[in-house]
Symmetry: C2
Subunit: 513 residues, 2 copies
């Protein structure tokens, strides 16, 4: 009845696996990779999602949004939205439903290297940076200083080397450039010349977009090549919650849409301040605002790629200040992820934010809680996932590097538990327990799964106290600093070709050496 | 059509709420509390759980367990288990199904104070300590030293003050007591005299149990009072995976059952070493072993309270050493939680373990990942949830205190998103956006939810960089040390009554002053 073949006799299989291990694993067999599917965590019931959806439709029909620019009003009226005497534009539910039915659900965000493309279908999860931090965290000096263009470029270069950072939306502001046009253009340059992964950025004024597109055409090798594979998207705060369009950002959005740039429809309310204090209410408002944004995009260009960016944040209600590291924040982003899938839309939200000022234990638990929950909920784009401190005010290179380890474990959790006949392991249990060695060390299964199923940290320490002592009690942050310095000491493979770079520098004032 | 009543006009409701806030919140209205219900995270499908169940039944029927003591063999044979010529005892599936049908599903773990009782029904989640660390982590000196009885007593005293630590299973070994009998008895004394929460402990030899029961009777005020409300449970490693009974521990278990002590059936395999390397396989083996344990308990005393303690751990397969802080570990414990609920049994598993040697960022992400996932999966007893470092070898008081903050956020996540008409917030959105203040600060809803829905960290820092700088850049660990010293400087309300204490000290050699 039972298979008593000892493990050691099956040497053929074992040596074959050993040979396989000697070669690098093909991408699809790596333990973790971009685009693993979440969806096993569902904080909302189906009924709860339907209630949120209906409340959002009510809000769009009854409250609507104020402050749309003239161009947007004209375009949205043309598809059936109604401008009231109070200046608010309202959306009949039939319009919203039509827009939802025809929305673009097949979005791929391109990298400069196609190997970095992100497929935002289903519950596929991707982690990356984002934000607008104004400080750089100097961990050695325990000091916050103004962030610079070089800091931003360095962040992009670091991200380029980190497997678990899948895209690079600009995480901080180059405060050493005072002219906004030059800042926006140099932001693009600093990111694109640092990484071949997909990039997100924003624009201060609509009039800056044409110059940016000109630069991107040069980087892509012409307008057609750019439009074929736009490797930069526009992170667009099209709304000033509650329920007001951000006039100028909407004009930026129109310009980006016409220029072929994917748009992140970013609604960044703050529960208890600019959004209802209840988690469900903050989600309702974010969903309503993003549905309005989707109608806007549809009115300008049906089917243009738009990411449903419900990014509600949380207030610490004692002070009114933002708290990005709270359980409430983790729930908001996970609940939003579920609403994206309720609509079947590619979506994004914020997670991984630390309120902690430094990459300490608090930062670890804050970043892990929301990153893990966002991933398990199947959030397509997890923005601000690494490096963010002080409730988004500070960015830290060391933390970014450690975040790669943290997100690696989160991705392992997203991958989940595979239950196959092989994995149930009855055969190996029989062979081990009855006449076998009485342990699983060195069994074929163990050796095989070691490479395909287990994630090993790059900097996280798993030594015993004895080994740790013998190693001189290495400090986690010091290890991250050493890694940062090693990365930045190498020549970046993401640099632009010399002729392209020279042409860009001739046409634009580039502040990086 | 729309309600434009400004928020400020509804002053009656607001002043009533202000009055309510002035009073302390009743327990059921606190944002977080012991026994919140998880279950929104389901890493296993129904089909996956059924496959795991069938594989476990196959393993019990075909492989069985070796090494049961004579008393256990006799008892288990009497209910239908079969001893093979190979010394393995096997369990026909009909027997396992009968035992499952009649298992005790109504377990309350008692505290010395009934306010600390734990109801293990449904997906109710409780976090607490556990383990057998042999080192104490001195964070100031970055040093691991032998753990002592005083360290254990201090840990119990600290736990007694922490809202989010719901039970105190002995987390470390009193290495300053060399006699095992005295160590076991003093372990109970050190824990019970430090906290009125439920306690878990273990015994080195079955012959130590009668003395322990005698001490517990003295503490409870007689055997009847003890049996009415047993406030200590036996954490029992009844199995040495794979699929072998731990002979002596089984004898301890029998003695504890007869003494009226609830039993934690603890199966602590290590995936890749003493359990299959696949996550599903490690769960199969743990489930099979705990089902065997449940049959054993049933054979001794049907209906005796037993916690289904599938505690599979993870090997770092590069070294074979344990890794408690990995994503694989988080998945194992969450998957086990789901299996407990598949059977409708009260269950426990390990989470919150750090591989990190110190309470640093790595510790934060390791502890958060598994604690959050265990809670969301609805694990009744989350053991080892705080204070554990170096893959269970070290315990840290500062980390325990910080763990209370971390678990507070995890519990907020477990509580989840309530979708009610009130929470959907359409009325407050209308009042805010149309003719209202244009923000939610100071609204009735915001002020009310501030106390009932938001969790504020005790030591976690949410200040701005500016405030943080003005506050002298406080260090998280230093704050935890100060909190520890403040707790230990106060007289513990959990001390035993003086007469009871004197009687115990007269009867037993108590090593604590």
């Amino acid at each position: 009845m039972t298979d008593q073949t000892p493990v050691s006799r099956r040497a053929g299989g074992r040596s074959a696996r050993k040979a396989a291990r000697a070669a690098a694993l093909p991408d699809h067999m790596r333990p973790i990779r971009p685009g693993l599917s979440g969806g096993t965590y569902t904080p909302l019931t189906q009924e709860g999602m339907e209630k949120i959806h209906r409340a959002a439709l009510d809000a769009l029909e009854e409250i609507g949004l104020s402050e749309a620019p003239a161009s947007g009003i004209a375009a949205m009226e043309a598809i059936g939205a109604r401008l009231g005497d109070d200046g608010r534009i309202r959306f009949p539910r039939a319009l919203v439903e039509d827009v939802l039915a025809s929305a673009n659900r097949q979005i791929t965000l391109c990298g400069r290297d196609p190997a970095n493309d992100l497929d935002l279908s289903g519950h596929r999860v991707h982690y990356g940076t984002a934000g607008a931090a104004v400080h750089m965290v100097d961990v050695d000096a325990r000091h916050y200083r103004d962030s610079t263009l070089q800091d931003l470029h360095d962040a992009a270069r670091i991200c380029d080397t980190l497997d678990n950072i899948h895209f690079v939306q600009r995480p901080m502001v180059a405060r050493d450039i005072t002219d906004n046009r030059e800042m926006d253009l140099n932001t693009i340059y600093a990111c694109v010349s640092g990484t071949k992964k997909h990039i997100g950025t924003s624009f201060t004024e609509p009039s800056f977009v044409p110059d940016a597109l000109e630069m991107l055409h040069m980087m892509a090798g012409g307008e057609d090549a750019w439009r074929e594979r736009p490797f930069v998207s526009n992170s667009n705060c099209f709304v000033v919650p509650p329920m007001k369009f951000a006039t100028e950002s909407c004009e930026v959005m129109e310009a980006c849409i016409r220029g072929g740039m994917p748009v992140l429809l970013l609604s960044a309310g703050q529960a208890g301040a600019t959004a209802p204090a209840s988690i469900a209410g903050a989600i309702v408002q974010a969903v309503a605002e993003c549905l309005a944004g989707l109608c806007y995009v549809h009115a300008i260009k049906p089917g243009h790629p738009a990411i449903f960016g419900t990014w509600p944040f949380v207030s610490d209600l004692r002070t009114g200040a933002m708290s990005g590291g709270s359980g409430e924040q983790a729930l908001l982003s996970a609940g939003c992820a579920q609403m994206h899938k309720f609509y079947g839309l590619p979506g994004g939200a914020a997670a991984g934010i630390a309120d902690a000022k430094l990459p300490d234990m608090q930062a670890g638990w804050e970043q892990a809680t929301s990153n893990v929950m966002a991933g398990l909920a199947g959030l397509n784009m997890v923005y601000e996932a690494a490096g963010m401190h002080a409730s988004l005010l500070g960015f830290c290179h060391e933390s970014l590097i450690l975040g790669d380890d943290l997100i690696g474990q989160a991705l392992r959790c997203v991958r989940g538990i595979e239950v196959t006949e092989d994995n149930l392991s009855l055969d190996v249990m029989r062979a081990t327990c009855m006449g076998g060695p009485g342990h699983y060390l060195g069994s074929d299964q163990t050796l095989g799964l070691m490479q395909t199923d287990y994630v090993y940290p790059a900097l996280g320490d798993r030594t015993s106290p004895k080994e740790w002592n013998e190693n001189g009690k290495p400090d986690l942050i010091a290890k991250a600093t050493a890694r940062k310095e090693a990365i930045l000491a190498t020549r970046s493979p993401a640099r632009l070709p010399a002729d392209v770079d020279a042409a860009i520098r001739a046409r634009f004032h580039i502040h990086l050496d």
